[in-house]
């Protein structure tokens, strides 16, 4: 039963990811990405990471995707990738290479010394994460604020009207 649920969600995740890279219309792609992010959030729930699942939905599916959709709307209203593609051979070569990479990573998972067979679980509540954030991970946490500042200044530099 649980395995079935997992596979169902996994199938949705994979299908939506494939949809993103196959569909020509970027708006469709964005929607597929939303689905993908949502299904990954569901997987987080299965892993008992409730806080992350919520954050995933709020930050990714909520904020980031809105930005994406906004950009798509502003930049190329409804436009698809059209016209002949002179680089098609290249793009097709990428597929076997991607597949090869997948095989390598799966191989890595197969040959690794057997991971614990028992079902995983962790304390995934907001409290545990918060505790870590403000103790062990205090420095990276502060660092992200600098990172966001840099992003802010950067966007400002690029978007200021005066050229």
């Amino acid at each position: 039963m649980q395995t079935a649920v997992f596979f169902a969600i996994a199938a949705i995740a994979v299908a939506s990811a494939l949809g993103l890279i196959v569909r020509r219309n970027p708006i469709h792609g964005a929607l597929f990405l939303v689905v993908n992010l949502g299904s990954v959030a569901a997987i987080y729930l299965m892993l008992n990471a409730q806080f992350l699942a919520a954050a995933q939905v709020i930050i990714y599916a909520g904020a980031i995707m809105v930005l994406f959709v906004f950009a798509i709307m502003v930049l190329i209203p409804g436009k698809e990738e059209t016209g002949p593609d002179p680089l098609r051979p290249f793009r097709l070569v990428a597929i076997p290479f991607g597949a090869f990479l997948l095989v390598e990573i799966l191989l890595m998972l197969v040959v690794r010394p057997a991971p614990p067979r028992e079902p995983p679980g962790a304390e995934g509540g907001a409290e545990a994460i918060g505790r870590l954030l403000f103790t062990d991970y205090l420095f990276p946490f502060e660092l992200t604020s600098v990172l966001l500042l840099a992003a802010l200044v950067g966007v400002l530099a690029l978007a200021k009207r005066k050229a």
């Binding site: 997992f6 597929i95 991971p115």
Partner: protein
């Protein structure tokens, strides 16, 4: 809600998503879609982090994911700003058009 699924299933799924993201970066022409494929890659990495964290039964993996989300948000902001800046100069939006510098 704890479901009893072996840990390697999660990492396997993450690998598949990662490979799809990689392929997406290469097969698409629209920088926005390429960028979204990169988001898929980041997500796959996040999934792996959470899955491994669960195996070790520590929350470090989840904290890392939290940071990655922040980074992703910052990256999106900057990335979209760059794309918009280019769009002002050249309305067609395909990475193939950006090949003035080569050889």
């Amino acid at each position: 809600m704890i479901l009893l699924v072996p840990g390697s299933y999660y990492t396997g799924l993450s690998a598949v998503l990662f490979a799809i993201g990689v392929t997406g970066v290469l097969v698409r022409r629209n920088p926005l879609v390429i960028f979204m494929s990169i988001e898929v890659m980041l997500n796959a990495a996040n999934l792996a982090l959470v899955a491994f964290g669960a195996q070790f039964r520590n929350a470090d993996g989840q904290v890392l994911v939290f940071f990655v989300m922040t980074v992703a948000a910052a990256e999106v902001a900057v990335g979209l700003a760059i794309i918009v800046a280019i769009f002002r100069l050249r309305p067609r939006l395909s990475v193939d058009d950006l090949s003035a510098m080569r050889w």
